[in-house]
Symmetry: C2
Subunit: 818 residues, 2 copies
């Protein structure tokens, strides 16, 4: 009955693998054999089925289903009210909030029972998942009394109706295909189950850059199927909308929020929606941002735009999440006072108090856009009469796109635990967004999940820790990163302490490692911000209207955001925070270049100069990324083969790509600053042979853009598609066992073939068929092939033969002998 | 570079998995980095590629290829002659026989080298595989000097041109499809590689019930592709032929072996064949057997038939393997002197000395037909002037068809080590077939392999141990069963001592376990001999012309084969052996009923009565089969998931089917003898509820044939295909956690669906979609579904709903509560 199958990752942390620890099995042998569901809400039905499924998987028993309290021990599921009605002596002493639950051992009708009581059906479901999690973690199933940090715990999916996902790295949409809701909703059901297991209660299923067609009648019919699939799992459906809808699909000639016809249109449309989906959750709105329509078209405020929609939703208890991610992307970079980081505060702080009570302003964790390092957004503490949610990005847009390991919970924790110092008492972000600090009725957490059809949901096994971690923090933001990592690792890979220790360590170090090779000292991710947001592209941030400037020149680097001489951004914080950032002596190193412009020779608190720190951190980060490989390899045989192999392949890729990052950033700053690396590494590659310096037969040197993403600024390409090109050189090092690294470019518009020979002997062959986000040789397509264990002798000819395919011209950067 | 993939079984014992034992790695770090192949035979090329592949996989290095002795240490591959020519001081002191090899560390041109010298290219290839095996076993790569037990080491495949395989349990043919040789020969190449790795040097690729078309010109062209694919692996192609070919495809009006036209036809045909395939190995011939044509049609002898073909082959050094499996299958069962076991001896002993020197008589290990227990064929010792090979069956025709674990090496060892006592000195079967005993020029081993397209080749992971063991015994018949099991387990599942110990134990006990529940005291496998040779069918052996009679009646059981009162079969053995078998006091228990007819109350040497032994051994065997399940489960997490799960599923099936066997055999003998089981088990099933005694809704009772293969002789069937039928009963046992066994019939002509409920709760559901060898409810289709961990309460209604499909009418036998 226990199905044994390869671990594809699809079951995520809900694997319910058999427990073979005798002590744990013994502990759970006392679990009642019967499960009784009191009440017939769909969530309680799901809770009961899930308990049966989980106990079956982990303990090998099938719980009996009863509809009334039996004359024996039982697990009793029900709302507080239902339980107290069925067992009048129960005394659960409770006024559980809606989504809260209580797990309690008590005697009912003379039999010891395990009661799972919820404030609502959804609370019961969460209690059931909590019990199963306890069992899976091999912890005692003792009393629990939990309620969530905040009422809004949602995910946003940025799915388009054509089935693509904006910033999705886990395959195509599970919600849409070919312009419609998918007919097979089994993955939607399984996703809702995953969400329920971590307490997520809402899901916005379409891109914030919203397609207005979703509000038309045919699409509303399609959405009802999704809502029905979500319902047993306590997940309420939400969609993102465009404020111009009254005009674009409504037939009006305006979408002015203060126009009564517009208000009436929203009211009618929302009523129509609720007739179809009575538990519809509400809308997410992105307006006046990155080219979207907005109230500015009519000289109205964001509050006007939010409220007209909120008033239509209000009778149905629906809500509006209105995104604060509003900025001018045609900012004049020549004006040193201009600053994109100011935008959210500047736009929304003046409106504080003007939003209706069912509007929530959705604020990204930082003032820019999900960079690897940003300060906390000053807007959180600036809205005292407005509901807030924090928007966190689970999908790793700027943090490696699931190809690099980057466990984001420690980053999120820094933000959530940050004391804004806006009050005399502690005013942490997590308390503000929960509504506690300023006594707001609504608030919470929104995670941009962007799961897709990949068996691993997110495109990588280890990336699922971020989805899990988001849900757990939204439920209980006091949990530590280590607690969350520990839970996830044990649920996902089993209870072996060696496995747990290694994976926890990898997770907990990974954000810092990624930061070290991609974005030093608060500069943000030094990626190609105009394209894929993936590989290095330092200058892409500069001299354009997008405002992610790092202001690097020959003498120094960093944005001066001080009040005294800079953009004044720092003044958006409460005075104690502002004064810390304003002064170079107190500003923390890891935000230094976000807040200040300094010369390269400026010395950090550590005593290092800025430029040497840039070199050192990038070498340290790339080395640490390389070190993740043997750390994972130490688990060979301890982790199932499929996940072992798939994770290993990702880590090996990451180790190679971290070197691309290291070399690009170090080379760029070396050239810009003219200051050499005190340790002699940057710009010096003694074991490297540039492709353009090899003997070329057919291959031709080409310039790579940006120059820093290829070693020496150049690559070689094989110009004619049907041709075979060769690059060769003679090895002059000492004889011995060597590894050979071949750095090539794996574009997504062709599948070149490469073959490596030593003399006449072929030693490796591969096809460049990865789907990296680039159509040209650059820092996103640059990839390392590592050929290990070769016996090299002085005088050996090493030869690479490339066969181009379509637009990919078998491009090569360099070879390196280790 | 090391490909990490699921273990499908396809790589068999040649997995070349990375070695992670530091001591072993250290030991092999001294292996030279260079491999030199001297000479250009295809086998030496294959040896070199295989070494590179294996070292790459296990040690992570790519050996350098050189064509001449380099100025450094090297692994040197070559024939003895080539090595002594290249390095005149080499002194290998050898006259290696053709297939032998020598592994030796020696200094060549001043550098320490590891020399792999062969008597031929094939010997070099075997030496390379021997070195790789040493490494994989983590044993020192020290000196080896090996030559095979015998020159003929072949496998026979019983493949038909339409792609089916007679007695094949591993899928369709790798050689033929749709009446032709397959176009993609990659599996043929990989099979030849497996064969080479264990020293097999010939392969007959078509059914011994031969299709004569293979001798026609178009097919000879197709065969050349197979021969070319075999060639680098030192495997020579052979085909099975029909002696009537001169008439059926040759256009003659006779196939009389003494007709000169027939002789000329064979000569011309063989010449044609050798023009296409110069290294063709020879023919396998089945004649005058089970309906095949033979020399008896013209009053000629088997020697005449063999010699006419042998003389055509002789100039090309080809050989004829002439099968001794000749018997009358219309034998009169009423005559107590008739005995099929006598046939091979009676037919061939008179011809001793009449066969040409390139004819080999191919003798099955026992006198009947690959039963689970038979005495050694008396023919081995009876042919003193005739070449012999022993025919062993790797495919488990009568020993569980790869669905039951049955490691056959211990059985083969008993035969090979058997002293025929025909000489004053020891005259073991293994020495006789090797040609040593009677100084014959040819001899050896033939295994009926019947691999197919299943990823595991044979249809089961653990069954591959039999193919491995056959090859190893053919190479070195002095190896013990434990040595062979140990090697195979380590090569196949890695070096973990816990894994090795458990799997070795399972393998080494498995034949005896299978014997205990299928064929007691030398009765042979008590299977349905007229059909699939799989499930129980005790009476199928009796009262027909096939001569596998067990002579069981109300008073006693067994064939009287004594000289004094029986068929005289025992007189075919040398006097010391014959006298042992003739006397009840010395005849071993495990052959008692093969040699003697005794009453059920006869007492064995152990003191048990025959009837009680039948009961006891069947219960002990079924319990032991059940015990294999937890023994395998103890390896959970130690064995890769796919193989773990697939083996577990097979063992769980076997445990259920062993009970079917137990109950069928015990019930049959209980009814026949009228003597109860002293331990009260046979015929008493206190926890069993017969389907025919349940409350039936739609289901109707039917008689099962043979009666003993269903509990109570009856089943229930759901007569109408579109109908849904229900069988239910009320549980009256004590409350508690229980397992439920549902015994149903899984025919291969439909896929019924079954659902089990306790009260209103569905607890299990499955589709009967296995491909068992039966089209009706019987002992081959009877299957157990085990539903574990159910909380039962007195009064529970247990209900099975069956939905028939096509010819399979959702048949049910019984339920059992554990």
């Amino acid at each position: 009955m226990v199905s044994l199958h390869a671990e594809t990752g699809y079951d995520a942390w809900l694997r319910y693998a058999p427990i073979d620890n005798a002590a744990a099995l013994q502990r759970y042998s006392a679990l009642p054999a019967v499960v009784v569901a009191l009440g017939d809400s769909p969530e309680i039905g799901a809770a009961q089925e899930e308990l049966i499924r989980g106990v079956r998987g982990m303990l090998g028993h099938t719980l009996r289903v009863e509809t009334h309290l039996p004359d024996e021990s039982a697990i009793v599921l029900g709302t507080l009210a239902a339980i107290e009605e069925a067992a009048p002596g129960a005394h659960l002493n409770g006024d559980l909030k809606q989504d809260g639950y209580r797990l309690k051992s008590m005697v009912l009708r003379g039999h010891p029972c395990l009661v799972i009581a919820g404030g609502s059906g959804r609370g019961v479901l969460y209690g059931a998942f909590a019990l199963l999690r306890r069992i899976a973690l091999q912890e005692p199933a003792s009393a629990l009394d939990e309620r969530p940090s905040a009422p809004v715990r949602w995910v946003n999916q940025w799915d388009n109706l054509d089935g693509t996902i904006e910033r999705g790295y886990g395959g195509r949409s599970i919600f849409f295909e070919d312009g419609h809701v998918t007919s097979d909703l089994s993955r939607v059901r399984d996703f809702a189950r995953l969400l329920a297991s971590i307490g997520i209660n809402g899901c916005t299923i379409n891109n914030v850059n919203a397609d207005p067609r979703l509000l038309t009648a045919p699409y509303i019919r399609e959405l009802t199927a999704v809502a029905s699939t979500f319902r047993p799992w306590g997940v309420r459906l939400s969609i993102a909308i465009d404020v111009s809808s009254p005009k674009t699909v409504g037939g009006l000639d305006t979408f002015d929020p203060l126009d009564p016809a517009v208000a009436q249109w929203w009211k009618d449309k929302v009523d129509e929606l609720y007739r179809a989906i009575p538990d519809f959750a509400g809308f997410v709105v992105k307006a006046d941002s990155e080219g979207r329509a907005g109230p500015s078209a009519y000289g109205r405020t964001h509050a006007d735009a939010a409220n007209v929609i909120a008033r239509a939703l209000s009778p149905h208890r629906g809500i509006v999440l209105y995104r604060a991610f509003v900025y001018n992307h045609h900012l004049d970079w020549r004006n040193p006072k201009n600053d994109r980081a100011r935008a959210a505060y500047d736009n929304f702080h003046p409106l504080d108090g003007q939003f209706d009570d069912n509007v929530i302003v959705q604020i990204k964790n930082g003032p820019i856009d999900f960079q690897v390092r940003e300060p906390v957004s000053p807007l959180f503490a600036a809205l005292k009469e407005t509901n807030e949610v924090i928007e966190l990005q689970i999908t790793q847009e700027y943090t490696g796109q699931q190809r690099h390991l980057c466990f984001l919970v420690p980053m999120w924790k820094e933000v959530l635990d940050f004391d804004t110092q806006v009050l005399k008492t502690r005013a942490r972000v997590r308390d503000i967004v929960a509504g506690r600090t300023f006594h707001r009725p609504l608030g919470g957490f929104v995670g941009v999940s962007n799961v897709g059809r990949d068996p691993t949901w997110l495109g990588s096994h280890l990336a699922l820790a971020n989805l899990y971690g988001f849900g757990r923090l939204a439920w209980d933001s006091a949990l530590t990163s280590r607690e969350i990592a520990g839970e996830w690792t044990r649920l996902t890979f089993g209870a072996d302490p060696r496995v747990n220790a290694a994976i926890d360590d990898m997770l907990l170090r990974s954000w810092r490692i990624y930061e070290e090779y991609t974005g030093p000292l608060g500069l943000g991710t030094l990626t190609d911000i105009l394209g894929s947001h993936y590989g290095p592209g330092i200058e892409s941030a500069e001299r354009n209207g997008w405002g992610q400037w790092i202001r690097a020149d020959g003498k120094g680097v960093g944005m001066d955001r001080t009040v005294s001489t800079g953009t004044g951004y720092i003044g958006q914080y409460a005075p104690p925070v502002a004064s810390t950032y304003e002064s170079l002596t107190t500003c923390p190193d890891d935000l230094l270049l976000f807040m200040h412009h300094v010369p390269y020779t400026y010395r950090l608190h550590s005593g290092q100069t800025v430029i040497q720190y840039i070199y050192d951190s990038h070498y340290a980060g790339a080395d640490a990324a390389q070190g993740l490989v043997p750390e994972w390899q130490s688990l060979r045989g301890q982790v199932d083969e499929q996940r072992y192999a798939e994770v290993l392949a990702r880590l090996e890729y990451q180790a190679g790509h971290a070197r691309v990052w290291r070399d690009a950033v170090c080379s760029w700053f070396l050239r810009e600053s003219g200051i050499p690396d005190a340790k002699g590494r940057a710009g010096h590659f003694p074991n490297r042979i540039e492709a353009e310096s090899m003997r070329l037969d057919g291959y031709q040197p080409v310039d790579v853009t940006p120059w820093e993403t290829a070693s020496g600024g150049k690559a070689v390409e094989c110009p004619a598609p049907a041709q075979t090109c060769t690059a060769s050189f003679r090895y002059h090092g000492a004889a011995g066992w060597r590894h050979l690294g071949v750095e090539y470019f794996d574009q997504n518009n062709g599948e070149s073939r490469f073959t490596v020979y030593i003399g006449a002997q072929m030693v490796d062959q591969w096809v460049a068929d990865d789907r990296l986000p680039s159509r040209k040789p650059d820092g996103s397509s640059s990839t390392r092939r590592l050929i290990t264990g070769l016996a090299l002798r002085p005088g050996d000819e090493i030869r690479i033969v490339g066969v181009p395919d379509r637009e990919e011209r078998a491009p090569l950067d360099y070879l390196e002998v280790y």
